[in-house]
Amino acid sequence: MKEITCECGHINPEGTVLCEECGKPIEKNQHIDGNDEKQLLNMRYDGSARRSQTYNRTIVDKVWNFFSSVKVGVTLIFITVIASAIGTIFPQEEFIQSTVDPAIHYRDQYGLAGQIYYQLGFHDLFSSWWYMILLAMIGISIVIASIDRFFPLYKTLKKQKPKRHELFMKKQRIFGRTTAEDIDIDRFKENLKKRRFKIYEQDGHLLAEKNRFARWGPYVNHIGLIIFLLGALLRFVPAFYVDEFIWVREGETALISGTEGEFYIKNEDFTLETYDKDDPEDARFKEAIENQEGPIPKTFRTDATIYERTNKDVTGADPELEAVKEGAATLNNPLKFDDYALYQSSYQLDEFKDMSFKIHDKDDDETNHGEFTIDLTDPQSTYELEGGFRVEVVNYFPDYEMQDGQPESVTKYPRNPAFVFNVYPPGEEEAETSFLGIGANIGASEDNQYKLGLTGFNVRDVTGLTVKKDHTLGIISLGGAIFMIGVIQGMYWNHRRIWLQPREDGVWIAGHTNKNWYALRMEIERAIEDTNIEAPVDQYEMKS
């Protein structure tokens, strides 16, 4: 429980493994890094007093120390890895097209395994509370482990003195003794300087160091990760994040949801292009196009005009619109306006817009007793025709299918419209009933004198757009960028130190790096060229 005074006179905080100044192993703390009876020192975090396991009385300290452990961190990572892997065995709930209750879907599709999968919650793993807690625990572990390691390491590296304890030198992995008189120290220093080492001197003891900043890499990348996670967290704040979906028909002007009634969009045109093997430009893909069963899409594009509402304060009134932007949204190129972006994400081709009919004699298609057009977004209940006929729309099925001999509509979208008409000839009270759809034209009775015929129709495409506002992207990108900088800083540079200690009969040389020992030895070999210092050896022996 006391601070430790080293024989060099430096006072170390408790828990120190190697004296901050001279590196002498502090005897009673060697168990912390498992240095006991080992030939080599464990140099992680330079033997600084981290984790402070001595402060372990309160619950807070216990929790803190739990998260501070790298072992715990790595365990959390492995649990996450295994959970994630299981989460990909069957498709996640969100990717399932079917409208069947997921509980039944998993059982039917994947049998018992699917049922267990569903019951354990793996069907929605990535937004399940326990997966989020796993990720959050990794985040907490990153923060605490970094705090516990960065500050002590920083202090130790700052306080380190070139003059090192004998034991410290001897127990370095790279170590060599040279017994010689004519050692060219100046040449050695010069060589080191050329190799961009910084040199510190103390009573003839040398410390050459380079790339200390590489040691901060892990902490920088951890900061990046934390910023990234915070950015992801902000998505739960509505002001930062909007995610809506709208269908807009060609020619239609619709409110863009998620914009608080501020913006409208007019779908000018939706285009779907497919690859055509007869097109000279696509001819090179001939083989692939022929091998594919359906057509291969080339472009999805919505040409649109964005309007801003100018009379925002008058609630309920018809909107007054002002065009603010014209443009196109394609996959990979969202249409951006204000803070929002519209992404091309779905479409529906050839929805019926209107249909025109004429009445003719049952036996003669050429006759014409009058025509009328039905606007499918707003069909009227009766149509008065010029020839005096009256047509009553008894029933309308926007998207009909025959079910048990009865027509039923399966959606509200006019994809396959059908009608039941009552036709009243001029002056008659009795109506003739008939059913009319695409590919169906049935008179209610054999005695019908008249028949209805489809003379024309217009179709239009519907585009599905995702509306996004995402103010978290900046924060998330910042986190990603800092993470990358940190990883590169830590991985592509190596912190290297070389100590030279004058002895009565020559010098001792020792070297340490946080990674790539072979490369450090190469570097030392070049630094001692023409200096009469003997190359040190790698004292490490691999246990295989």
Binding site: V81, Q92, F285, A288, K298, L473, V487, Y540
Partner: protein
Amino acid sequence: MGDWTTISGNLLYAAFFIYLIATFFFAGTIRDKKKGKSKIAGNIGITITIIGFVTQIGYFITRWMASGHAPVSNLFEYTTFFGMMLVFAFIVLYFIYRVDLLGLFALPIALLLIAFASMFPTEVSPLVPSLQSHWLYIHVTTASLGQGILSVSFVAGLVFLISQVDQSKRSKHTYWLEFVIYIIAVTLAFIVLSSSFSAMNYEATFEAPIEGQQAEITYEMPAIAGPNEGVLISDDRMAPLFQAPEWMRGEDAAKKLNTFLWAILGGVVLYWGTRLILRKRIAASIQPLLNKKVNPELVDEVSYRAVAIGFPVFTLGALIFAMIWAQQAWDRFWGWDPKEVWALITFFFYAAYLHLRLSRGWQGMKSAWLAVGGFGIIMFNLIAVNLIISGLHSYA
């Protein structure tokens, strides 16, 4: 213009054989007496490797010219590119450490990858709208480079394990090492069987119900496992030994199962055949050849260095660039698509590797096994996720 396709195909063939020749030269380095440093055979080996690599770049460029987009858009193109990146990463690490033995193992793995790639449809395919983005090239190439470098870590780990595992007695180490070798045999068997049957134009057609409708399924290999409730309609073809289980519903599920069974069986024949001839474990037979050449500390460092270099590249390509592209194409940068999840798993796994190594001192054997596991994950993501687990990335 159409000729570019032919030229490109020939260049790939050429690269394949050049790598094969280079492998023999690296094999020749085993005879060198001196430990570590390379001699003549090694120099010739690396020169030929570089020529092969340049030839393969030629394939890449000509194929790009033929298709009008970077050839990384289907499984064939991607796997080929992955093999190329593995060779590139090997060249880079060779010049840092000059370990000849790395070539002897890295090139065969690259050869297997390229041969494996050509088992998939090789025709030039058009890009669907979501793939029409420059981020496709940037994301895929960087991710693949990262995976290539990480794979070198596996190669070095394998060299380490083969040379260091104690073969005098059976252990978990010997067992799993043989398993890794068996998997390599399975891959080889798949390539050999698949190309033999396709050279023979083998076809057997079945009629089977797929999602309630009768459909025709054509096998390119004799059916061990036929489709569930399938009826063989081709004449003179081997009748299946058994039917695929009922829960294998997908159109190609039974066919894939059949191919898988062939590969597994082929692997058994190949592996046990070799083992019976050698009369000991495969790794035990290779070990004496390597012992003189291998410096375990150095090989261990190569393996680690490859992770240190590859991890940032992989993160950048497979996660960050992927997120940027996903944000543009699908309006969200992350969607928990299986391929994404497996990229994240790879990232986590190597992050754990680095933490274990840096903070807990995992070196040598443990580290080598982790490198093998990492490569397993990469291959799983490449093959299993594309062929078995479908998602946005399962190349059409």
